[in-house]
Amino acid sequence: MTTLTAVWDRRPRWRLPRAFDAPRWLTIVLCWRVVHLLAMAGALGWALTAPTLEGPARIAALAASAIVLLLDVVGLVGLARGRAVGRSYSLAADYLTFLGAVLFLLHVNRVFVGLDALGETFSRGVPFLLLAVLAWIATGLEERGGVFERIARVGRSVGLLAIGATLLAVGLLPGLATFLVRTAQPLQLGLVVVGLASAYLAWRTFQPDVAQHLGATNQTTRTLDGLLFASPNLLGFAAFFAGPLLFSLFVSLTAWDAFGEPEFLGLDNYVNILALNVGIASGGQSASEVLAAGYSEWFRIGNVVLGARDVLFWRSIRNIVFFTAFALPLSTIPALFLATLLNSKAPGIKVFRAIYFVPSIAGVVAVALIWRQLFDSTIGWLNYLISIVVTWLNAIPGLSITDPRIQWLSDADIALFSLVIVFSWMFIGYNAVLFLAGLQGVDNTLHEAAMLDGANRWQRFRNITLPALKPTTFFVVASTGILTLQLFGENVVLFPTTTPIGAGPQNSTLTPVVYLYEQGFRRFSFGYASAVAWVLFILIFAFTLVQFRRQREDAEG
């Protein structure tokens, strides 16, 4: 039986024509580079002046056209001098132009927007898709021979037909028709021409004869192959991570509300965030009398008043330092002891390992919602259980304990510790699994030797297990510490009605991420919020750096 794939495989091979030999082609590329460079210079000018472009759209257009313009310049100079580097840069410029034209075509044809609608109608194709999956599974029977081989061949054909049916069911034909209708517009046709031309230019320039003519080394060819291979990931990284990161750095130097043009402020946002002032109060002077203008009291020790321009930011820093000081040890030290308990071969121990791991895979919102009910001071389970214990204890003659009725969520002195409890509960299990993996890597012969030397259980734990766990401990402490410094979701769910949201009673659970969220999304101060984010980044970076240093010193020492 002839399958569709067999027919496909026997089709005549067709390759793109190489219309010119390498020297002539390079002349054409050189001319193209000049045209391309002028076009990019025009695009740069348009991005600078176009009134329809605002904020991030203008910056993205400026960055994209500047990068391609730079590639054009280097490529042009290189090619003019007959250098292989010119080919590399020229290739990069044409490759990016091709990708840009394709993406812009998809954008103007509203394909990305339509993906939402595709999500709604995809279910129509699911039965056919399941059939295709079953057919694909059947193709695995081919190696068994005989009747299975025939089933596999039929499966392959059925699979292809099922894929086709899937596409038809989710609306390929109307989609194709719409795409073609939309593409038959001047702008779209222009993009098609630019895309095809760039693709052909890149492909032809990439051919070995051109490389050979320019004296490109194998190293250059391998580098280009590698970059081409990694380019989807690299471009994705640039577009969705590095780009926004750099953009936020730029925004942090501006006053920007996300809607209009950013106003450049230089380092003003950082100065306002970090500025501190000290004053000495005497004779009942108020903070405003002893601090410089623009500063408010952050806290005072005796007569010494420490003021800040942005007290709330410093409050958030103080909160997060306190939180980390409690949450980090409480979610790591018990985890270590839990891991030693779980590192046994008792029956059913795997079930316990799974149970302890469950909180870490539960969603933050779900966990925090449950804890919010547990913490309710009037009808919550925690206070109810405490009341039962107190009643039970008071039954003992001579004891009279007052039921504390702890206000877990509304007392400014306790709210942060409620967060510590929730966070530690969530991460003890996860950290225990990490420690467990570390424990299972400890050489058991060391324990046996120590036992022969008369070491007791604690001595073996302290002198063998703990040193062997240093790499794991470093990872656990560093990763948990970063999570504590980024605390956000738990606050927002546990304290949804405080102002700012998540800040807790009297701002007692205000953390830097909660604060930057408030600044950005509630107050429209995206420049200031970005600056707070970068300060937090530096804090986290410093924390991680200290951990790395300690780890390195331990390893070397």
Binding site: T5, W8, D9, L106, V108, N109, R110, V111, F112, V113, G114, L115, D116, A117, L118, E120, T121, R124, L160, I163, L167, V170, G171, L172, P174, G175, L176, A177, T178, F179, V181, R182, Q185, F259, G260, L312, Q373, D376, S377, T378, I379, Q407, L409, S410, D411, A412, P496, T497, T498, T499, P500, I501, P505, Q506, N507, E518, F521, R522, R523, F524
Partner: protein
């Protein structure tokens, strides 16, 4: 291997192209930016449903509180859609308040994907208008036959919705039309109050004796039941302490809303009364959500808005409502409101305005009021209010109407920064109620702190 690669590429490309077809003729509109709501520009569209029928596609959004409201609004959208030939509507239920309805909306506006018509709370109107995010629809309204006029809607919200920030006069601009209004009332657990032997607050109100003194008496009596029973409960957002300040003759702002008067003697007196209730342990601790214990039957009186009614209809105890107690200046409530506004970037302002007039039509408001969550904002037809009074329980719906008659409309703050104001005021009030900040210190410094958010 090569074949599989080509097949995979073909499959992905085909799926991408399929995205152009809106699912092959499904009755949906693009969820894209406001440009995408266009259908008949003739420049780039070819196969949208709207284009095929010549209709204008409009997307609109509200912030419903529960699935019942989502279903109701969706039904209203379908009804308008079927009656209005020239327009195709797509209703998008927004997230609830706790899922940051406004944050999502702002992000969508920044990204150019916000709906043509959306609802925002009254406190946000000034912020959205000052940033040019919503349309001043006065001109469109003047050219519309559908508009019933400014006087057809609740006067408090309309005064703020027609404010022109340039001339600083009301009655000139038109930033939106109120979807509905609401106000506070004390929800009563009649069983607890009767068990405590306290006087019925509804009777006290009817006799003109429902004031701060009798409120405290009832709270003390219920609280004396002991155990986990609490006399009263209020939540800790700005409006809750606000009614005590209002009823004491104070308030948040001066008359033209350009300065704080939270530090005035009257406002401080209101706060002092409230703090006293807490310091005597009569209420659910300030900062705790008082709704769960009220629904659990452990709170005598809970202050909340009309929006709590649908949830309370499942209470398994005898409950009703009463207006807030009168302070030295009377019972000065809040008028809570939100408005349908038009995205400044919509390409169909006339149709968007007509949609708003249809969404605020008396019949539509009656359907929403029947659900129990809100009070109609139309005042041009007395039947609308009569219908509202008949939607029981609670039996004493008149308490909400009474509350509206002597109330302050919430926000917006045209000459200041409301989120900043709220961020300073809320923790300060928490500190006073918790006893961590003296009233003297509060009174001496709070206006200076708050006035920094104006100008």
């Amino acid at each position: 291997m090569r074949t599989k690669r080509w097949l995979a590429l073909l499959l992905v490309s085909a799926l991408a192209l399929t995205a152009c077809g809106d699912g092959g003729g499904d009755d949906t509109t693009d969820a894209g930016d406001s440009d995408d709501t266009t259908t008949d520009d003739g420049d780039d569209d070819g196969a949208d449903d709207g284009e095929a029928t010549g209709d204008v596609n409009l997307r609109w959004r509200t912030r419903p509180d529960n699935q019942q409201e989502i279903d109701l609004y969706a039904g209203i959208g379908d009804q308008i859609d079927s009656e209005w030939d020239a327009v195709s509507l797509e209703y998008e239920p927004g997230g609830s308040e706790t899922s940051s309805y406004q944050d999502v909306l702002r992000t969508e506006i920044a990204g150019g994907t916000a709906p043509d018509v959306f609802w925002i709370p009254g406190t946000d109107i000034a912020d959205f208008a000052n940033r040019g995010l919503i349309l001043d629809m006065r001109e469109v309204a003047e050219g519309s036959d559908m508009y019933a006029g400014d006087d057809a809607y609740a006067p408090g919200p309309m005064e703020l919705l027609t404010y022109n920030p340039e001339s600083q006069n009301s009655g000139e601009s038109l930033w939106g039309l109120p979807r509905d209004v609401s106000t506070f009332a004390f929800y009563l657990n009649n069983d607890l109050i009767a068990e405590a032997g306290a006087p019925d607050p509804r009777e006290l109100d009817a006799n003109g004796e429902w004031n701060w003194d009798t409120f405290r008496q009832v709270a003390e009596a219920v609280d004396a039941l002991g155990g986990d029973i609490q006399g009263f409960g209020i939540n800790n957002w700005w409006a809750n302490p606000g009614i005590w300040m209002n009823s004491a003759g104070g308030g948040f702002f001066n008359e033209d809303r350009t300065e704080s008067r939270v530090g005035s003697d009257e406002s401080v007196a209101g706060l002092e009364y409230l703090a006293g209730l807490y310091q005597d342990g009569l209420g659910v601790p300030y900062g705790e959500d008082s709704q769960p214990p009220f629904q659990a039957g452990q709170v005598g009186m809970q202050l909340t808005g009309r929006w709590s009614t649908p949830a309370y209809r499942d209470n398994d105890f005898d409950w009703d409502v009463v207006n807030i107690p009168a302070g030295p200046a009377g019972a000065v409530n809040w008028t809570f409101w939100g408005a349908y506004v038009i995205n400044a970037n919509t390409e169909h302002p006339e149709e968007a305005f007509e949609l708003i007039t249809r969404l605020t039509d008396g019949d539509v408001q009656a359907q929403i009021a029947e659900l129990g969550a809100n009070i109609p904002s139309r005042v041009d037809n007395p039947d609308t209010i009569d219908q509202f009074l008949g939607f029981t329980p609670p039996a004493n719906n008149q308490a909400f109407i009474d509350g509206l008659e002597t109330s302050e409309p919430e926000g917006p703050l045209w000459e200041g920064d409301w989120p900043a104001f709220d961020s300073i005021l809320a923790p300060a009030i928490e500190a006073v109620i918790a006893g961590d900040r003296s009233l003297e210190d509060f009174a001496a410094t709070i206006d200076d702190e708050l006035n920094a958010t104006f100008g």
